[in-house]
């Protein structure tokens, strides 16, 4: 008997907006000028938030901060494709999308400044707290997607994570279970090509991360992650499918981490400046601005206004952060369980005796 071909897979990539700001009109999603200007404003605000955090960290007013610079198109594109009831499950380089999904900016700052209240989101904000153990959040995204499906909610769990996290066993288990259960899940890999110092080719021998979807029996697609329109389009399509019972999708959004891994990292130890400079030329914010300007939707005056508005907004968030009263020392005990057990009451009393309430 001859060997036969039993499986043949193709992985697609979508690009709509090129680095010069020119779009493929046929593929352009249905977004009007106001909406696109709004998306651009959101991206400018994300960058301002990021840059301010780096300054605050250098001044000792912020803890370790993982910059999102360069990844704004993914975060804005996914957020704008989502709907009200959808859940967001971030890893830890997702400040931008968390903001757009309703987490107040000063709480994002508070979390990274070392305050648990930064993960205590307002009622109704459907966002999980930051997930630090790499890749663990993929599993939650499958669980939330299954929960939404079982309870008949027409909503989707959108999970984000980095390229490094695809090497974790949890990524495999999450994708596999999402495929089996056809959960209401969309998984977005922010492939910024570096996991601290390890480049993608040292994470995997696979040519793309999107192709991993084939092994789980779910759709997978690669998208230019610095192309806001492509990110929006593929996410919208995946969300529509999941929302209507069509099951999960894996999206690989290829971007670049323009900053260090965190403020505790120095990326010049392991990568070439030339590579960074090249990617700076593909900056997702500049790209969208070029598009807006070419269409006559944006001018220098609007740019100045927007930058000033973003700065003012950031200053408000910093003021709100710094106006937060300190936590009560008892707070490290009070939220361990629904009711305070006697041994914790005793330990709480020890701390209060030491430092006062």
């Amino acid at each position: 008997m001859p060997r036969t071909q039993i499986y043949n897979a193709v992985t697609e990539r979508l690009e709509i907006l090129d680095p010069a700001g020119i779009v493929d009109e046929e593929l352009m999603p249905d977004l009007d000028g106001d909406r696109i200007r709004g998306i651009y404003s959101d991206m400018v605000r994300m960058r301002a938030m990021d840059e301010k955090a780096l300054k605050l960290q250098r001044q000792g007013r912020m803890g370790t901060w993982p910059p999102i610079k360069g990844q704004e198109a993914i975060q804005a594109g996914v957020a704008h494709a989502m709907e009200d009831g959808d859940w967001l499950l971030p890893a830890f380089r997702e400040h931008g999308i968390m903001l757009l999904r309703g987490v107040p900016g000063h709480l994002i700052y508070a979390y990274w400044a070392g305050d648990e209240r930064g993960s205590s989101f307002p009622e109704g904000v459907r966002v999980f707290p930051v997930a630090v153990p790499v890749g663990s959040q993929w599993q939650h995204g499958t669980g939330v997607g299954l929960s939404l499906k079982l309870r008949g909610e027409k909503a989707v769990a959108v999970t984000l994570g980095g390229d490094g996290s695809t090497s974790e066993g949890d990524f495999h288990e999450a994708m596999n279970c999402a495929g089996v259960f056809q959960s209401n899940s969309v998984f977005v890999i922010q492939n910024n090509q570096w996991a601290i110092s390890i480049p993608l080719h040292q994470q995997t021998a696979a040519k793309t991360l999107a192709q991993k979807a084939h092994a789980y029996g779910i759709p997978g697609i690669q998208v230019d992650g610095n192309d806001i329109f492509a990110v929006y389009s593929v996410t919208r399509e995946a969300l529509d499918r999941a929302r209507n019972g069509g099951g999960p999708t894996l999206i690989e959004a290829v971007t670049y981490r323009l900053g260090d891994h965190t403020t505790a990292d120095d990326a010049s130890r392991y990568r070439e400046d030339k590579e960074v400079t090249e990617w700076e030329g593909r900056d997702p914010i500049l790209r969208l601005r070029r598009f807006l300007e070419a269409r006559g939707l944006w001018d220098e005056e609007q740019e100045q206004e927007q930058q000033a508005a973003a700065q003012a907004w950031v200053d408000e968030q910093v003021a709100a952060l710094e106006a937060m009263p300190p936590q009560d020392p008892s707070d490290i005990f009070s939220h361990m369980y629904a009711d305070l057990p006697p041994h914790l009451a005793e330990q709480m009393a020890e701390v209060i005796e030491e430092v006062g309430s």
Partner: protein, 341 residues
């Protein structure tokens, strides 16, 4: 006086009872709660069509369907990780890890997420979930099927740890665990899953989490134990009674939060304590109990607190498991040692 082996519902409890094993009592707790609360779901490996490898979920899929009794892929981390996602969004998952020896891949989800969510969100996001897992030795299985890893979870704040030793407590404690607003690790003593039957109320009831049970009153020494070892302690108490030694048997039932009050009151009365557990002796929970008794009752003690526990070795394969497991005679020897100190 009631003992672990024949404990029955309160005499004034109007509920009819039936004789059940621990495995049946566990199943009934899940069935009653699923009946009462549509947000309760069961998930794990082989829990559906097969009814669980120990039959602890037998019949649930026929009654509640495959959307509420979910056979999962063979993926422990996913079972717990998905449960975190489900519990955070309005469901009450009861997850099964088939054997405690297989819990390692799920520890990241248990200790990295389940135990921390309430605290790290300052109470905004809570996880009402139960993680059931058979533990302990005595059934001559292959490797990795006999472990007692409670210490790992007891030194990791944020997760309640509950261990029944009899059918009545198994049903009442599991019901309480499913209704609890926080993650509960529910360790089931597989060696006695079907070793005996006891009267169990047919309807729902709870046994409170965090309350130990004085199973057998005595004056000379307190045996402190949990899970399958409680029965071995009763055997030792009977043996010692023939030597006119009056042994109090304390079944902790919950290891976190520990019912210190009941435990310390008992040891204060007897002046002697022996802790019995299957987990390895060094750095085990027995050490914590001995330290607590020392801190609170040093001057009331007639002898040092002794530990009868597993040895600090890898749990032996089937042919040697008898060498490892604490038995009646080892416990009796420790009791005599405390009496002759």
């Amino acid at each position: 006086m009631s003992t672990a082996r024949n404990r029955v519902a309160d005499a004034d409890d109007p509920q009819p009872t039936e004789k059940l094993t621990i495995a049946q009592a566990v199943r009934d707790a899940m069935a009653d709660e699923m009946d009462r609360d549509p947000s309760v779901v069961v998930l794990g490996e082989d829990v559906g069509v097969d009814g669980g490898v120990f039959r602890a979920t037998d019949g649930l899929i026929e009654r509640f369907g495959s959307e509420r009794v979910i056979d999962t892929p063979l993926a422990e981390s996913a079972i717990i990780g998905m449960s975190v996602g489900m519990a955070a969004t309005g469901m009450r998952p009861v997850a099964e890890i088939q054997f405690m020896g297989f819990v390692y891949p799920a520890v990241n989800q248990l200790l990295g997420h389940a135990s921390r969510m309430r605290n790290r969100t300052r109470g905004r996001m809570t996880l009402p979930m139960v993680i059931r897992m058979p533990f302990g030795g005595g059934i001559h299985p292959p490797e990795h099927h006999s472990e007692s890893y409670e210490s790992m979870f007891l030194n990791s704040p944020g997760i309640k740890v509950v261990v029944p030793s009899n059918p009545y407590d198994a049903k009442g404690l599991l019901t309480a665990a499913i209704r609890d607003e926080d993650p509960v690790l529910f360790m089931e003593p597989k060696r006695i899953y079907r070793a005996f039957r006891a009267e169990v109320p047919t309807g729902p009831y709870t046994v409170p989490i965090g309350k130990a049970s004085v199973d057998h009153e005595g004056d000379d020494v307190t045996l402190i134990s949990w899970g399958a070892m409680v029965r071995v302690c009763h055997d030792a108490a009977e043996l010692m009674a023939r030597e006119d030694v009056s042994v109090e048997v304390l079944d902790l039932r919950t290891l976190n939060p520990l019912d210190r009050e009941t435990m310390l009151a008992s040891v204060e009365k007897t002046g002697r304590a022996v802790v019995v557990h299957e987990a390895p002796r060094s750095n085990g929970f027995g050490g914590e109990i001995a330290a607590l008794i020392g801190e609170h009752l040093l001057l009331q003690l007639e002898a040092p607190v002794l530990r009868v526990a597993g040895f600090d070795v890898i749990f032996p394969a089937a042919k040697n498991e008898h060498l490892y497991l604490p038995n009646r005679d080892r416990i009796a020897a420790a009791i005599r040692k405390t009496l002759n100190f």
